[in-house]
């Protein structure tokens, strides 16, 4: 069968990234459901997200000036940066002191599966794009496997890590949707 066009690959990838971000949003809501309103307004941020050193555009003008290969490189770097921390979230979810612990744990598994399948798809996609798309920045996670001893610090650190993932999954989704619309130039009704 003929090679799958890039526009189709990008369409599939952005559907997966959309799902990935939506999942992280419902997970955040599941977590929030346990905190009193005041606690939810300003949740402490123990540190910066481990991916914050990666320079990404932070408004439309900047984003639309980034080349296709650089956008895909950003996406792959962000996704890869979450391989280890998602394992930490997964193992921590099993003992999370939260009434919705099992729901949260299942959804983290789902996150891992979607993240893995998106990553696999992007390997194929980047092979079809300019060499720059192969570049992946290393964003190591130094947080370790332990997210805290006492109940409150476990919840705060888990919530913080998830908020970082939620933000990065939104970036991944946004960049893939820009790429999708650029690839869909011949199909204006797509965008």
């Amino acid at each position: 069968c003929g090679a799958i066009p890039i526009s189709d690959l990008l369409d599939r990838a952005s559907q997966r990234s959309d799902k990935l971000h939506s999942l992280s949003t419902t997970l955040t809501q599941d977590l929030d459901s346990h905190f009193p309103p005041i606690g939810r307004v300003i949740m402490p941020r123990p540190s910066m997200c481990h991916t914050s050193s990666l320079q990404t555009p932070n408004d439309k003008e900047q984003a639309l000036q980034v080349s296709e290969s650089d956008l895909l490189s950003l996406v792959r770097s962000l996704l890869q940066a979450w391989e280890d921390p998602l394992v930490v979230l997964s193992t921590s979810a099993n003992t999370l002191p939260h009434p919705a612990q099992s729901i949260i744990s299942n959804k983290i598994q789902e996150l891992q599966e979607h993240s893995k399948s998106l990553g696999d798809g992007l390997v194929v996609l980047s092979g079809k794009m300019a060499p720059g798309a192969q570049t992946i920045s290393s964003l190591p996670y130094f947080g370790g496997n332990d997210i805290g001893q006492d109940r409150i610090s476990k919840l705060i650190n888990f919530n913080f890590l998830l908020s970082c993932f939620r933000r990065d999954s939104h970036k991944i989704d946004s960049f893939l949707k820009i790429l999708r619309c650029r690839a869909a130039k011949m199909l204006p009704e797509m965008c």
Binding site: V41, I42, M48, N58, D59, K60, K177, I178, E189, C191
Partner: protein, 210 residues
Amino acid sequence: VLFPPAKPGLTSCRSPEKETFTCWWKPGSDGGLPTTHALYYRKESSETVYECPDYHTAGENSCFFNKNDTSIWVNYNITVVATNALGRAFSDPVEIDVVYIVKPNPPEKVTVTVMEDKGWPFLRVSWEPPHKADTRSGWITLIYELRVKLEEEIDWEMHLAGQQKMFNIFSLRSGGKYLVEVRCKPDHGFWSEWSSTSYIKVPDYFHREK
């Protein structure tokens, strides 16, 4: 008797297109004295406090952040301060990221026409995205929903149209007068308000009822 002002409350922050945003607040009681309000914000990982760049564009008790003042994927920590001669009162701080407060304007140029297929009428509804939302570049991805009903009925019939900007509605009542409205939502945000109502009358030369 005169008092310091009561605590104001930040009521909501919204972005119509992920490029600008506005916040609104509700003043508390003014304690019987002339009272002013100011909005201050700080961006994540920065200690610099800024004041609202524009108190006017979005009307009373509001602060508008234009494209240059708006960054996404960064938390804004926002507080409103009420001040009169006897003192000040601070709102509870609220933290927002513009990507999570997107509520577009309604779809535009909603057009409804009666079409015919093998003798059966159907409605073709088409629309445009709100002009402020840049869907063409992919910066914002909108999905749409329609609702349609006969003039005399109460309940609407809902249709999700996905990203399409055109939708056909079948099973019409011969001679019926229909109302149609459309709304939109970003992939990760809030539904817009419904568009203004479009009216259409289906000719009554078809004999069979719905």
